[in-house]
Amino acid sequence: MGTGKGRVHTMSDPPAVEISHLAHHYGEHQAIRELSFSVNPGEIFTLLGPNGSGKTTLFRVLSTLIPIQHGTASILGHDLRSEPQAVRRQLGVVFQAPSVDKKLTAVENLIHFGRLYGLAGRELKSRADEMLARLGLTDRKSELVEKLSGGLRRRVELAKGMLHRPRLLLLDEPSTGLDPAARSDLWQYFNQVRQENGVTVVLTTHLLEEAERADRIAVMHRGELVALDTPAALRAAVGGDAITIRADDPGSLAAMIADRFQLKPKVVEGLLRLELPAGHEWIPRLIEAFPDHIESITLGKPTLEDVFIHVTGHRFWNEEQMDNEPSSRHARIKAKTRRQGDKETRR
């Protein structure tokens, strides 16, 4: 491994994450299937998908919490199967459920976790103080974590994740339970550690608007990778603008539009969708052609939801409701934030 390597990433660096033909099942349930992709060093990379899409399973495999069943995966050039300790050494993991000890203070948590990563003595103490200062926790560091608010706890979690200066920060739904301001701080922090420390950031999210802040997005659907690109390129793939039409009988209207304009409208959950360039020119033409059939018509620049519909044929949130995972604590948290996220993406 490159000794004395600077913080600038070069072509010779191994990929931050490389996954090949990865598959995982829980009993009969196939959680991820034949997944292959790689994450570049220094990238902020988002795994986007509804609950049950397999992104949390992927997170668990990458965090070394569960073993690989099929396929291969490596992190920073170290194989997950044969060198898990080397991987763990360079990995900062932030779980969705807090992993800090509530009965300890913020600084005690960092000291204990630092020792788990081989840090000790004065260096550990100064690093803990540095991390607490960086996350604005200095004046709260001697309080028990159970007395801190959810946002502050998440910051302790982040401080813990970065204490041993990992080269890859892996986060599962990091913005769960955070208000918009705290969420914005979080992304500022990601950009900061990427710029100053050359850290690669990989996170999972089910919030479309959050995914859009990443360099690249991997869209997951039912355990498979359905799209992987920059947010802009993903939107461009939708093909210009997205027109949504509400109609009494979307099926026959779709047939009529297809017949008259040689377009290919889709019916997605009772709404008629058209993806085409220069959408604004089509609005008056459609209304003039079928004045009695159209209840309402909207024009939008494609969002990630449009991308999701484009690649899967399903609406994002409905997909989530179809999910029948057992109602664990996490699922409830997700359900709560989903409503929150739903509002925000609907703008």
């Binding site: 919490l65 073993p67 080397a86 763990r88 779980f95 020792r115 788990l116 081989g118 050359g198």
Partner: protein, 276 residues
């Protein structure tokens, strides 16, 4: 800034890990006042009630059954309850997420297990010591001749207490590792751990016959209780009718070693509770 990765060795020194996890157990214990109170109060009450109640009932034929007689058994009960309750916390650790953080750290599993076990054993020892001190105090005021020991026997009894504590905490770890709820643990407590204590010679005399006697004889805790009896009731001189001192040591050490190995092996397995 020293940002180079190569400056950090890949293998983490294991003993600081053991130490830090054990220290955490102690800190958590003392921050939960009800745990301190409950773990100490209950055995004292049991001791007083059993001692007083059974003395008046005169269960054994002419045997001297008094506070001193029940002292070693009650001491083992304190060790059992405290050790077991200390390791139940592994279930909480898992549910609250702390354990996940440990599992993805570059820490050998045996170090994680040993930190947890030694932390629990240290709590059990602390309580055992408080109870021992209480025994001395009541003996000193000549309320009852609770203890009559030589200094060497005191040291030996403390080491034996530590061995028993480690064996029981490791047993607790073994049971708790695969569990996803503390309710399940309470069931084990009632059907397995409490009978294990009752049939350790702490409560019934060693010489009960039949299947009950057989269980008493194969119960490894019997030898811990008998060992402590030799030291605490008779200054390290062997009491007739009990297993010899060397047999008590041999069985207790084997018990502790076996439990530690079993706990180490199970710590390498994954629990489905991680996936909730």
């Amino acid at each position: 800034m020293s940002q180079t990765v190569s400056s950090i060795p890949i293998t983490v020194p294991a003993w600081p890990v053991v130490g830090t996890l054990a220290q955490r157990e102690l800190v958590r214990f003392f921050r939960q006042r009800t745990r301190v109170f409950g773990a100490l109060g209950q055995p004292i009450i049991f001791w007083l009630l059993f001692g007083a109640g059974l003395q008046s009932a005169r269960v054994g034929s002419g045997d001297k059954l008094d506070f001193a007689h029940f002292f070693p058994g009650t001491l083992v009960m304190i060790l059992l309850f405290t050790a077991i309750f200390a390791t139940i916390s592994i279930i909480e650790d898992r549910r609250e997420g702390f354990l996940q953080g440990v599992l993805v750290a570059p820490v050998p599993r045996w170090a994680m297990m040993l930190g947890k076990v030694l932390g629990g054993a240290a709590i059990a020892m602390l309580q055992g010591l408080v109870f021992l001190f209480l025994g001395w105090l009541t003996g000193a005021v000549d309320w009852y001749p609770v203890l009559s020991t030589t200094p060497l026997a005191v040291v030996a009894s403390l080491v034996l207490m530590l061995v028993i504590s480690i064996a029981l905490t490791a047993l607790g770890f073994l049971i708790a590792w695969r569990m996803d709820s503390t309710q399940g643990f309470h069931a084990i407590m009632i059907v397995f751990l409490l009978p294990m204590w009752l049939l350790s010679g702490a409560f019934f005399p060693m010489d009960v016959g039949g299947w009950l006697g057989a269980i008493v004889r194969i119960n490894p805790l019997t030898y811990g209780v008998a060992g402590l009896r030799h030291y605490l009731q008779n200054g390290g001189n062997e009491i007739a009718g009990l297993p010899s001192v060397s047999v008590c040591w041999l069985v207790s050490l084997t018990f502790a070693a076996a439990m530690l190995i079993a706990a180490w092996l199970i710590a390498g397995t994954r629990s489905t509770a991680d996936l909730q």
